[in-house]
Every structure is written in structure tokens, then in C-alpha cells.
């Protein structure tokens, strides 16, 4: 099979020195105006890249203070009040302003039209609008954070948020409400684009799995986000005008708020993880040089996850006094949603079998994703199991679990995808050695940060604790130590990616010899994406055939 008889010259080094294409989307126009008024999906993706990166490092900075505070059981670094505002800001920024837009609005925005062979998304101006809506929402939320902060936790549980907290609930709520519409508009644009803008010959089952994953994600964005938007609006009304909706003192039921909140916020977890799964599908197949195993199953499992995700939300509420019968239904459905996720993992691993596996940086992230997502997913079963959830819910076990999914899953997928498509986005290669180092550092730092939290959680340490009993200190110190490594792991790519934009080696149009339409145009692509509309006459992930090169523009 893979005898080493072939000559092992690397494609990249074998080519003559490359130059950037003369015209591409980055130099099509200059000046601040050309960016702020652009309707080019690629430029909007770059705008999003800058914004979500800022939010990520801001949210990360809060996490640093939180972990520093937890070094000591007495939590002497910040006051309880400050601590509560820190974890709230960390949660709100990371969930609503980083995780949810990260992959769809940056990579999805950049790649969907390219992958579909289209010139742009269906509604370019709505695309730009969604970025402005995001910025306005972020401005409101940042105002809430700066002008005294918010201490409700990202979950806004009533009646605390409506009747007791004396922090900026309304401003933050308005910010999240507005940002929700940014997410809805993105999802709407994606679905319409996928339905109506596919190039000739690009049938549904020839779509890259990245597109399938974004289709499923968009469904959740469209059908879930409005519910949380109206719920947050009701919270604001109850708080501002003393209308009764959820406050028991006004006859309301605080549990109803939780139902509405989790109707969106559980599926929202899949808004965060499904696009990452889409990225991983691309990486695994590309760096194995082999068609993904079980394409149809991976594609359909994305839709299954999106659909089922709307029927499992009350597993966040098993200790609220939820009806035990309703709890049983939600528990059973929660197990069902695990199956399509498991199918994906098994298919990715099977893809490696007899492949030609490269250990380049994106693949390292994909390996990391598969490992961490497996642990994150399996520990999710603990929370679906009724009798066990009672003990571990609202403890650090939960914190560890969702960080395995979101940090171990989504951010690994995001970074893997960012490296993989970086040459396409910027036209330059990232430094491979540094990138591999940072991938390893992130993996080690991540596990050291969050694995001890599983143990802490089962021991019974509740989440959102500013001070804690002394016997939990050793594990907390381990976690904080890991967080410092993780922080370094995130800073390294920030530096070398920024460096590579100017000094990196010029990238060929298809540096990894991938299939997929986005590699059939130049790096970076021209504003109109393709010199002429591509016509697709081959199956998806056709790695058995020799790679197609870009046609010059």
C-alpha cells in the first residue's frame, strides 16, 4: 500500500517562488470606508474575525482573574461582588459574542459562497447589517460591563435578575437581544444561499460537510434565537416596568423562565459545536487524503442533532422540582441526541484507516478535537442520567463538561479551521513549527485546566463560588496552573498569525492539495470569488483523483 517508493518532494517546496495574485479581495479597495461599507462576504468575515478575536481575549482576561482568585480558598484577590461580575462577563462575552458567531460568522461567512461556487451570499447587505447589529449589541453589553457590571450569571435566572440584582441587567439584556438578531440574520442568509446559490452540478450530496453543518446550525439560529430574544425582553419588562412574568412575588413562575431560556440555550450549544464538527470533517478528510468515511451519515447526523437539540432542554432543570415524568422524557431524548454525535466521531476515526495522514497543524487540532469532544460528549451522558445529574448539576462537573465541549471542541475546531484556511484568507502561510508547538501547548494546558474540575465537581464543589472549602485547593491550583499554560497557548497563534500576514511565505492556491471549490480559486480569492462560475462534475472529496489547480484570474 503506502510503500515509500514515491519521491517525497513536497509540493510546496517544489514550486517556483510564488507571488500573490495581482487583484484579490484584500487589495480591491483601500481605506476604512472600503471596509466598513463592504458587502463582500470575505471582507465581512474579516471584520467578524477582528471583533470576535477582541471579545475572545477580553473574555479570556476575565477568566484569568477568576482562576487567579481561585488559587486560594479565601478568594482574596477580588471581592465576592467583583468575582460574580467577572464570571458573568466571562460567560456572556464568550457565549454570545465569541462562541456563537466564531465559526459561522468568520469561517462560514468566508467559505460558504466559495464552497458553493457563488459570488457572494444571497443577501450581501444583510450580511453587513448582521455585523453592525453584532457591534451594536456588543456595545450595549460592554456598556453594562463597564458601567458597574452585571452579576446574574449568563443565565439571567429569575427572580434574581428581575427583582434582586442591582446591576445592569437591562443594558446587558438589550445587548444580547440585539446580538441575537445578528445571529438570526446570519443563519437566514446561509440557508437561502445554500438553497439557491449552488453552482451548476453541485447537488446536495456533493456539498462539503462544512456546508451541511452550517445548514443545521442555521436552522437552530433561526428557530431558537427568537425565543431567547423575547424571553430576555420579558425579563427587561419585568425589571423595568414591574410587569409580572416570572417573579413569584408577582404571581409568575421562575421555572417557566428556565424552560424558555433553555429552549434556546441548549440548542445554542449545538450552534457552537456543529460548525466545529463541520470544520473537523473537512480537516480529517483533507489531511488523510481520503474521502470521508460515511459521508451521508455525517451529513444527516448534523440535521438530526439540530432537530433533537430542541427536545432535550429540561435536562438543565432536573433539580428544580420539574415533574419527574417530564424529566424522564427529557432524559430519554437527551440520550438520543448523543447517538448522532457518536456517529460523527466514529466516522472521523474510520476515515483515518488506510489514509495518508499528515501531521500538519490543522490535523493536530482535529486530533485534539476528537479526543476532547469524546470526553466532553461522554460526560454529557452523566448529565442526561437522571439520578446522577442530581449530584453533579451546578457543580464544577458541569463547568468541566461544557468547557470540554466548547473550549476543547469549538475552539479547537475554530483554531484548526483558521489555520487550514489561513492561506486562503490571507494568501500567506503560517509558520508550521510555531503552529504545531501552540497546538500541543493548547492541548496540554486545556486538559490540565479542566480535567481536575471533573473531580472537583464530583467532590461537590458548586460552581460560581468565590470562596471554597480548603480541601478543594489542590485541584483548583492545578486548574489555575493549566489555565496559565492554556493562555500562553492562545497567545502564540495570535502573535504568529499576525506576523504571517506580512512576513509569511506566499501561499499557493491549494497548499494542502484539498478538494473543494474554495481551493480552485486564488489565495486570496478575487472579490468575485471565481473567474467564471465553476461547474461541478465530480463527487465530493474526490481525493483519489489528482488535485485541481486554480484558474488564473
Amino acid at each position: 500500500m503506502n510503500s515509500g517508493e514515491q519521491d517525497a518532494r513536497k509540493t510546496m517546496s517544489s514550486q517556483a517562488p510564488l507571488t500573490l495574485p495581482k487583484r484579490h479581495y484584500l487589495n480591491a479597495d483601500y481605506g476604512v470606508r472600503s471596509w466598513l461599507l463592504t458587502t463582500d462576504h470575505k471582507r465581512i468575515a474579516v471584520l467578524y474575525l477582528v471583533s470576535v478575536t477582541a471579545m475572545f481575549f477580553l473574555g479570556g482576561a476575565y477568566a484569568v482573574i477568576i482562576r487567579l482568585n481561585l488559587l486560594e480558598p479565601t478568594g482574596s484577590l477580588v471581592t465576592a461582588e467583583t468575582y460574580n461580575k467577572l464570571f458573568t462577563a466571562h460567560g456572556v462575552l464568550m457565549v454570545f459574542f465569541f462562541m456563537i458567531p466564531a465559526i459561522p460568522a468568520v469561517l462560514g461567512n468566508f467559505l460558504l459562497p466559495l464552497m458553493l461556487g457563488a459570488r457572494d451570499l444571497a443577501f450581501p447587505r444583510i450580511n453587513l447589517l448582521s455585523w453592525y447589529v453584532y457591534v451594536v449589541g456588543a456595545a450595549f453589553t460592554m456598556y453594562a460591563v463597564v458601567a458597574g457590571g452585571l452579576d446574574t450569571g449568563w443565565t439571567f435566572y429569575t427572580p434574581y435578575s428581575t427583582a434582586f440584582s442591582n446591576t445592569n441587567v437591562i443594558a446587558a439584556g438589550v445587548g444580547i437581544f440585539i446580538t441575537g438578531f445578528s445571529s438570526i440574520l446570519t443563519g437566514l442568509n446561509f440557508i437561502v444561499t445554500i438553497h439557491t446559490m449552488r453552482a451548476p452540478g453541485l447537488t446536495w450530496f456533493r456539498l462539503p460537510l462544512f456546508v451541511w453543518a452550517h445548514y443545521a446550525t442555521s436552522l437552530i439560529q433561526i428557530l431558537g434565537t427568537p425565543v431567547v430574544a423575547i424571553t430576555i425582553l420579558l425579563v427587561a419588562m419585568e425589571r423595568a416596568f414591574h410587569f409580572g412574568f416570572f417573579d413569584p412575588a408577582r404571581g409568575g413562575d421562575p421555572i417557566l423562565f428556565q424552560h424558555l431560556f433553555w429552549f434556546y440555550s441548549h440548542p445554542a450549544v449545538y450552534i457552537m459545536i456543529l460548525p466545529a464538527m463541520g470544520v473537523i470533517s473537512e480537516l480529517v478528510t483533507c489531511f488523510s487524503r481520503k474521502k470521508v468515511f460515511g459521508y451521508g451519515f455525517i451529513a444527516i447526523s448534523s440535521l438530526a442533532i439540530a432537530g433533537l437539540s430542541f427536545m432535550v432542554w429540561a435536562h438543565h432543570m432536573f433539580v428544580t422540582g420539574l415533574s419527574v415524568y417530564a424529566a424522564m422524557i427529557f432524559s430519554a431524548l437527551s440520550f438520543l441526541v448523543a447517538i448522532p454525535s457518536a456517529i460523527k466521531v466514529f466516522n472521523w476515526v474510520a476515515t483515518l484507516y488506510r489514509g495518508s495522514i499528515s501531521w500538519q497543524t490543522p490535523m493536530l487540532y482535529a486530533f485534539g478535537f476528537i479526543g476532547l469532544f469524546t470526553i466532553g460528549g461522554l460526560t454529557g451522558l452523566f448529565l442526561a442520567t437522571l439520578g446522577l445529574d442530581v449530584h453533579v448539576t451546578d457543580t464544577y462537573f458541569i463547568v468541566a463538561h461544557f468547557h470540554y465541549i466548547m473550549v476543547g471542541g469549538t475552539i479547537m475546531g475554530y483554531l484548526g479551521g483558521l489555520h487550514y484556511w489561513w492561506p486562503k484568507i490571507t494568501g500567506r502561510l503560517y509558520p508550521e513549527w510555531w503552529a504545531r508547538v501552540s497546538a500541543v501547548v493548547v492541548f496540554i494546558g486545556f486538559n490540565l485546566t479542566f480535567f481536575p474540575q471533573f473531580i472537583l465537581g464530583y467532590l461537590g464543589m458548586p460552581r460560581r463560588y468565590h470562596v471554597y472549602p480548603p480541601e478543594f485547593q489542590v485541584l483548583n491550583v492545578m486548574s489555575s496552573a493549566g489555565a496559565s499554560i492554556l493562555g500562553v497557548g492562545y497567545l502564540i497563534p495570535m502573535v504568529y498569525l499576525a506576523w504571517s500576514m506580512r512576513y509569511g511565505k506566499v501561499a499557493p492556491s491549494n497548499p494542502f492539495q484539498s478538494t473543494g471549490l474554495e481551493w480552485r480559486t486564488t489565495s486570496p480569492p478575487p472579490t468575485e470569488n471565481f473567474a467564471e462560475t465553476p461547474i461541478i462534475d465530480e463527487e465530493v472529496y474526490d481525493y483519489a483523483s489528482p488535485p485541481k489547480e486554480a484558474r488564473s484570474v
Partner: protein, 327 residues
Amino acid sequence: MPTGFPLFPEQASTLASEVDGLYLYLVAVTFVFSVGIAAVLVYFAIRYRRRSESYRPEEIHGSLLLEVVWSVIPLGLCVVMFVWGAQVFFHMNRPPDDAMTVTVVGKRWMWKVQHPTGQREINELHVPVGKPVKIMLTSEDVIHSFFIPAFRMKKDAIPGRYNVVWFEPTKAGTYHLFCAEYCGTEHSKMIGRVVVLEPDAYQMWLAGGPVPVSPAAAGERLFTERNCATCHRADSGARGPVLGGIFGKRIALQNGETVMADEAYIRESILSPAARIVAGYQPIMPPYQGQLTEEQLLQLIAYIQSLSPPPAGTAPASPTPSPGAAQ
């Protein structure tokens, strides 16, 4: 309370071992799958690492058989988790009939406890080994969560509602009591301890301190003070139903429906009497909304629960204190 560097929490209730059994099963599944997947992944990644740039592996489309196998096996394991987990959960939610009832009221940022014998505690709970304890849980302000890790037991305290949870301690000792639902600034200080005593030590603890008034007795006093008996009495001209023996029974309502006279219904009938009127009575009782504390409500409920059924011939019915009792 443990010190040093524990990796596994103490087991101190009958439920703890049940939950731990479930936990170990899931840990085993997690371990087998994550290590197994990681091992296969690493093996493939090394075994099939890229040796030549020009090599193009053979295409493998997929396998229906494999897809079925790796869907059905996890599904089977999940069914076990579901059934086992649901059994444990039902057990947790069904207190034994002989459990002693302790009322717990959460308030920012403390736990207020009252024993059936009347002892009151704050942020402490003394219970005997080997006796099932049922906790009646509510909150005066925001949502809290009553969490004793050593008992593997947790339940939210929700304002305006009663939640029930129970445990049977198996080992004397002192254990953590936490608030697990974020409730504001001092959330992490809303903690306390559960002291599990051997039965005779518990009796000594009960005997110590001032002579307490049991919740039922306190409820009786309230019942008198507020003139409830003016209407709720056992003669035929009474304006309100007789309350003896109604607790836990189904009662016919004016609108033709029936209702279980449980804690929630009695609470509602005190705070908002007109909501569900007992058949044969007029909605004349004033609402007590805002006039009784959560603890007083629990005491009234304890009193009504303690009343024995009236002699035969008197129709049992539900509570409706007098109109003259308004303050």
C-alpha cells in the same frame, strides 16, 4: 469534613452508594470509549502517516454495517443509563412514609431549618443515623439549591413553591451543606454543615437547649391568634370547612373538580382562598398574601397535618379561616 486532597466524596447516605454505582458505570463507559477512540486514533495516525506526497489512498465510501453497529452499541449502553438513572431518580423523589419532616427555608444568604420537634437551626442541620429525613424546601427570595454532596442530594429551593427531597444518613460525621444555585453576592458563603449523630447522641442534642415549640404547636398558636377557629370549627353552622383529617386526602371543589389537600393546596388556600373553594362553602375568607412568613405558613401546614379526623358525621373539607381574622 475531609481535609487534604480527596478524590472521591464521602458516602454518608443510603442514596450515596446508589448514585456512586451509577457514576462508576458511566466512568467505566467513558474510560473505555475515550481511551479506545484515542488509542485507535493514535494507532492510525502513526500506522498510516503520510510517507509520500504522491500516494493517493484507495477510496472507502463507508459501511452500513459499521454505522449500525456503532449506533446500536452506544444506544444500548444509553438505555441502561436511562433506566438505571430513572430508577435512582424516582427513589430520590419518593420519600419513605416514615420519614421525619424537616422544613428548610432558604434566604439570602442562610439556611433556616426547623425540626418536627421544634428545634431551629441556621446553616446547621442535626440528624440521626439510620432515620429517613424528608426536607420540605422553599425560599423567601430567589432560587437557592440545597446540596449535601456526601448524601448525593440536591434540590432547588424555589420561592412560592414547596420542593421535597429526602435522605437517610448512614454514617455519623460532619458534612458540607452548600447552596448550589447562584443567588447573589454571598452565594459562596451560603454554606453550612450537616451533623449526623448516633441516635442517642441525637436524643441528647434534642434534649439540650431551650424547650422548643414544635412547628405543629406553633401552627396551633397561630391558628388561635388569627382566629381561624371562628369559622373552621366542627359545628354545623361553621362558615369554613373542618380541617381535621383532610391532609393528604382528595377534596371535592365547588367547580366539580377534586384536589389533593397537600402542602401546596393548603398554602394556596391560606394565601389566596378564593382560588379553589371547597364544595359547599362561600368564598368569604380574606387572602393572607403578604401577612405570613414562609416559616409561619409551614407551621400552619404542620398543624393542619397533625389534626386528627373529626368524629364521623362531620363532612371533612378544606381550610378557610375566618373573615374576622384580617389584621
